[in-house]
């Protein structure tokens, strides 16, 4: 029984992390209908920033996530300004391909500059700390990351639903031209959305450094899982992303333990297909 609870908890915590990684992608996708293929690489860049801050300036990830978030916000905004805004709306797949080029650039630039070495911060505040309840062990870094994720998702949700900015974003998502006519500077909204999307994944990357090694390939699988989560939750839906992420985390953990670890992603992808067959626009799709 305690094993079952442990497996569920691990899945839940992994899912909460995935939610934070995917939330930004969901936002961008929902509002702009653009696939940001470089999403996983944004995560990697954030992790490198947080690693170097920790390694050179001894700033703990528990603090440096602010810097990572801000940095990737700027990176996202620049990506929109110089890449996405120039090819959006011209041909269906152009932004996807352009961001694919960006992801290749970022990955190999980091490889070239920082070498392909695996880097991990040695002494962080949270490292190795855990809460032990009987047979159940909860890693503190994972727990803190999970709680952060919930807080940030909530803030994002609040921003979207309760503020003027959020309404403007929603209006732009529904009909860009109409929003433009209503006096919304939709170009600026897009810029902001891309930045916000980047900030979410940046924060996730900043926190991840406290327990995961950084290397140029680290973003690949996270990026892929984020795609699934977004499509499964419904493009643009933040509660959808959270629900899908937790579902994926749980399925991954349960299938990994009760079927076989090699099948954990097979189970995740198969579940995605099953869900999408029943609800073709995702769990919370509109």
């Amino acid at each position: 029984m305690s094993t079952f609870v442990q497996v569920m908890l691990d899945g839940l915590l992994a899912g909460m992390l995935y939610a934070l990684v995917a939330a930004g992608l969901s936002l961008i996708w929902g509002v702009m209908d653009v696939i940001n293929f470089a999403h996983g690489e944004f995560l990697m860049v954030a992790m490198y920033l947080s690693y170097w801050l920790g390694f050179l300036a001894h700033v703990d990830p528990i603090v440096s996530w602010v810097a990572s978030g801000a940095f990737v916000f700027i990176l996202g905004a620049l990506t929109y300004r110089f890449i996405v805004s120039r090819c959006i709306g011209k041909a269906a797949m152009a932004p996807l391909l352009a961001t694919f080029g960006l992801s290749m650039f970022l990955k190999n630039f980091c490889l070239n500059r920082f070498s392909p070495n695996f880097r991990i911060l040695q002494t962080t505040v949270l490292e190795g700390k855990k809460i032990i309840l009987g047979d159940i062990v909860i890693g503190l870094p994972q727990l803190v990351t999970g709680l952060f994720s919930l807080a940030i998702l909530f803030a994002l949700y609040f921003l979207m639903k309760k503020t003027r900015l959020g309404w403007a974003i929603q209006a732009t998502a529904m009909d860009r031209e109409a929003a433009e006519l209503m006096g919304i500077n939709t170009d600026r909204i897009y810029l902001l959305v891309f930045g916000l999307g980047g900030a979410c994944v940046g924060i996730a990357g900043g926190l991840l450094t406290s327990y995961l090694a950084v290397h140029p390939e680290v973003g690949a699988l996270f990026g892929l899982i984020a795609f699934l989560i977004v499509a499964m939750g419904g493009f643009g839906s933040i509660p959808g992303a959270l629900a899908a992420a937790i579902l994926i985390g749980l399925v991954e953990a349960l299938a990994g333990f009760y079927i076989a670890p090699v099948f954990k992603y097979v189970a995740v992808f198969a579940m995605y297909l099953a869900v999408i067959m029943i609800r073709p626009k995702g769990l919370f799709g509109w």
């Binding site: 442990q6 992994a14 070495n117 040695q122 062990v137 390939e217 953990a253 992603y265």
Partner: protein, 419 residues
């Protein structure tokens, strides 16, 4: 019109790429050797170190190094002044790229030999190319035993295979049971599900079963994982006495840290040539990496004791990459040394004659553990040895075979909460 300009720029870029092809100037009396490793992709760290090791060997061979006591150091080049020129190429860790780059090296660059290619899955098609065009392939550290089961004539491999390592692991467990009353009965495996990991695990299972141990759990996982929770949880639930591990790079750190987080350890862990041997990773894991064990062909500690001549050569290498040799990279340096020695002995560049020398000679090799290299059937180095070490505060301490042992291994490993 902007588009015309843009088109012109792109065309220029493309032409620049193509033109840079032809500017490699050939000096007099050089012997081109292809160096084919994964320089990008998931195995890039290891690949880049291997290249640095080959470069180190080439530097020693090409220049006068009276201070070094290794073969060919005191003279300049081989065959009375022929210098070795390396042509580096990237496999990206992919078999198809390895194959086409091997072809380019052979047909276009006209290399004499290829040294490569770290990943067994890349070495296989690349060496099929050299075999077909009757060129030598010197393989340093690809560990799949299948490579030397193919009866190739021009393929030579230096490192011990995962088969040899598996037998040594099982032998050592038997020894532990007898001499340290370890009481080990069950074995578990965790490995990345790739050509390398799967092959190592298959050999490990076969060896364990042959020696009468029970394999209770078998956990392959996909490399580059976001977490290894279910993998470690599965190990923990079956609780084997010993775990054989084949996890590379970042997965290795993740695995060790996940075990720590889940507060579980087997009595002993034995690693194939993996993240365990990477000095950088060991350093980063700090105290968490302690008491893990693994097969090791070289470490500075072993070198200081049994391979005294390495240290001076190692200085050149460390200048390039900032870490000492590891078991994998040093084999690639050996590969070039042995090739050069064989050519020198044959006195000619005739491939058949050099291959004959390789097959029949026992070479002096100060960079190999045991000091000798001799190739057996299929091109496997019969003198390849690896010893089992245990990690103590960043130092690889030999524990087995007993003739090399420095310390008595700590088995069972100290649990996490007592550290």
């Amino acid at each position: 019109m902007q588009n015309r300009k843009f088109l012109a720029v792109v065309t220029l870029l493309v032409f620049a790429l193509v033109l840079s092809a032809s500017c490699a100037l050939a000096a007099e009396k050089v012997l081109k050797i292809g160096v084919l490793f994964p320089l990008t992709g998931p195995c890039a760290t290891a690949g880049q170190r291997c290249v640095a090791a080959v470069e180190t060997a080439a530097e020693v061979i090409n220049n006068k190094h009276p201070e070094l006591d290794v073969p060919l150091a005191k003279q300049e080049g081989i065959l009375k002044g022929t210098k070795i020129q390396l042509v580096v190429a990237d496999t990206q860790g992919k078999p198809d790229v390895a194959k086409s780059e091997a072809e380019r090296l052979v047909n276009q660059e006209g290399v004499y030999t290829i040294i490569g290619s770290y990943n067994s899955s890349a070495s296989k098609p690349a060496s099929a190319v050299t075999e077909r065009s009757k060129k030598l392939f010197m393989c340093g550290c690809s560990s799949s035993a299948a490579l030397t089961d193919r009866d190739f004539k021009y393929f030579y491999r230096l490192a011990p295979t995962d088969k040899t390592e598996s037998h040594e692991f099982v032998e050592y467990i038997g020894w532990l049971n007898k001499n340290q009353k370890a009481g080990i009965k069950t074995i578990g495996l965790i490995y990345e599900n790739t050509e390398f990991g799967k092959h190592a695990a298959d050999e490990g299972k076969a060896a364990a079963k042959a020696a009468g141990f029970e394999v209770v759990v078998d956990v392959p996982f996909n490399p580059g994982a976001t977490n290894l929770n279910s993998e470690v949880q599965t190990l923990k639930a079956k609780n084997p006495d010993v775990v054989f591990g084949a996890c590379l790079g970042g997965d290795y750190t993740l695995w060790v840290r996940t075990m720590k987080q889940m507060n579980w350890l087997p009595k002993a862990v034995l690693n194939y040539c993996t993240g365990y041997q990477d000095p950088k990773i060991t350093q980063q894991l700090g105290a968490d990496g302690n008491f893990f064990m693994g097969g090791t062909g070289y470490s500075p500690e072993i070198g200081a004791k049994y391979m005294k001549k390495v240290a001076a050569v190692e200085k050149i290498y460390t200048k390039k990459v900032g870490v000492p040799f590891d078991s994998d990279s040093i084999q690639e340096a050996v590969a070039l040394f042995i090739l050069a020695q064989a050519i020198e002995k044959a006195g000619t560049l005739d491939v058949e004659k050099v291959a004959e020398v390789l097959r029949t000679t026992t070479f002096d090799s100060p960079l190999s553990l045991g000091g000798k290299v001799a190739f057996g059937p299929g091109g496997q180095n019969m003198k390849a040895t690896s010893i089992i070490t245990q990690l103590h505060d960043g130092k690889y301490m030999p524990v087995y075979p007993t003739s090399y042992a420095e310390i008595k291994a700590i088995v069972p490993m100290t649990p996490w909460d007592k550290r």
